[in-house]
């Protein structure tokens, strides 16, 4: 299966500060990939390099296009939401639809209008008159109406309430996603989207520290509730992370024998957030 996005040995520095260091990623059709990392890990820079919004060292190919050299051609098939607040305040909804129709060859204005008809947004409304949630809905309507092969979302639900966040992701799945498309999303609220992700890539200090399918991750990592008496025995298995609370220690193990772990305590499948915390705290454990 050929990849839609191929990132190979990509590095980026701002002055002496290295933001990305030898990043390798390969994204295919049908994947919904979460690019997850702490603040300043390089998520946005990585996405901006993929979109051709910043220069970089290394190779990136998006649908066979070089993002810097073929940016316009590439953007015919790539849609991008970086933050809900970036629609200009002076823009009217009708103007946004008309402009998109004029400049985007893959924009379906009827689809956008259908989506907006389900909301409280009127064609004559200006962005400055809309709530933050409504701006997100408008932006999503514009993006979902593009027949794009790749959708890149950089913290798309930042600052939105939980209802709007859930609505946002459910629309994304219902109205955009199919097996021929690929979605890349960065977010801090990984627990909210882990049920929709097919793959995750954890990024730390500009390096991809884990890139795997969510199914494989659930096979690979185990969370064990260890009683205090068995903690020394469990420590010998080098847990990625441990957290003691109310006389019970929870430990995250990477690639350990399940029977062995069951002898230490109750074994459960960790959430992606648990694995993320474990991987990010690996050095300090």
């Amino acid at each position: 299966m050929s990849s839609l996005i191929s990132v190979s040995g990509v590095s980026k520095s701002y002055g002496s500060k290295k933001v990305l260091s030898g990043v390798n990623l390969s994204l295919h059709a049908g994947q919904i990939v979460g690019l997850v990392g702490p603040n300043g890990a390089g998520k946005t820079t990585c996405l901006q390099a993929i979109l051709g919004l910043t220069d970089f060292d290394g190779d990136i190919s998006v649908l066979g296009h070089h993002p810097r050299k073929d940016r316009v051609k590439m953007l015919n098939d790539v849609a991008y939401i970086s933050d809900v607040a970036i629609l200009p305040k002076w823009l009217k909804v009708s103007q946004a639809l008309s402009y998109m129709k004029d400049i985007h060859p893959n924009f379906d204005i009827e689809k956008a209008q259908e989506f907006l008809a389900k909301t409280n947004i009127e064609a004559n409304d200006k962005v400055k008159a809309l709530s933050k949630g409504m701006v997100a809905q408008l932006h999503l309507a514009l993006i979902l109406a593009i027949d794009a092969k790749v959708l890149i979302l950089d913290e798309p639900t930042l600052g939105l309430d939980i209802l709007t966040r859930r609505q946002f992701y459910s629309h994304l799945l219902e109205d955009f996603y199919n097996e021929e498309k690929c979605i890349v999303v960065t977010t801090h609220q990984i627990e909210e989207i882990e049920h929709i992700l097919t793959d995750v890539a954890f990024i730390q200090q500009g390096k991809i520290v884990l890139a795997q399918s969510t199914d494989d991750i659930k096979e690979r990592f185990n969370l064990v509730a260890v009683s205090n008496e068995q903690v020394p025995q469990a420590d010998e298995l080098q847990p990625l992370f441990k957290n003691s609370m109310m006389g019970l220690t929870t430990m995250l193990f990477d690639n350990q024998d399940k029977e062995m772990l069951q002898s230490l305590g109750k074994v459960t499948v960790p959430s992606l957030a648990d694995v993320f915390v474990g991987i990010m705290n690996k050095e300090t454990c």
Binding site: V72, L75, I81, I86, P88, D102
Partner: protein
Amino acid sequence: MNTSIMKASIRKELWEFNGMLKWVPITLAGVFIFIPLLTLILNGIDTQAVLAELKGIAAEVAKLTELQQSDRMSEIFFVSAMALFTPFIAIGFIVQVYYFVTCLFDERRDQSVMFWRSLPVSDEMTIASKLLTGAIVIPVIFFAAATALMVLMVGLAIVACVVLSVGFDISLWGMIASANILSGVGYIWLTLVPIAIWLLPLYSWLMLASIYANKAPFLWAVLPIVALLVIEAIVVHYLHLSQPFFGHFLMDYFSITPDNLAEVSIGQEKSRSAALLMLISQIDYRTVLVSVGLLCTTYWFRVNKQES
């Protein structure tokens, strides 16, 4: 270059600056219409004075009849039209300067640049559409407002002619015909492109300030020039040079003096084309090259400047 994308981009610029581009010319035209009306209403209409004025007009008819035979009438009309267009051109210029200073800055300030750049519109197209909007479309709006006002005035003049010819048997139709209204207004419209080329270095400099500045783009546009002039003045003073080159060049390039007009005026019958010829004579290929350089730098910043 894709013309439909260019049209959409220009329309987007007009939406963004809709308030300013709609209301400033309308207000200006309104001032021209309502101030005389207001004066008339406040002073009251004196019937005796109007009758006396009509008699005076009748007395002048003989002179006007002579005048309408000559080319003087078209010159008088052209000078009047220029007087009407000048405030529109001047206010339009201020609007243009504001537009160029903010056109690339505002979208970076509100971060909507990230939205615009996520769409398949090239940066060349964006820069070109903003340049076209500022250099041509905005002046066209102000020229159109002035022309609309002129059409209104000509309409009033025609009504007056009808009244005079029907009520007083005074015919001024020949005078209106010899004013060459269309060609007079046409000559003024022809200055549109030469003005744009002449002021291109200014426009491109303002666009560069607009894309470069993270704050106060107007200061970024003005301060480097002021600093350069001050430094040059100090150097000239201490080295006892004859005159500052840069300051002298700027003064020479941007000033339109009666001397310039005299240089291109061939005769009085050619006075209508004099303004056009004078503007063309101000254009220098070197300043056009500098403008191209400034626009390329603006494009470079657009492509490479990190916005977040």
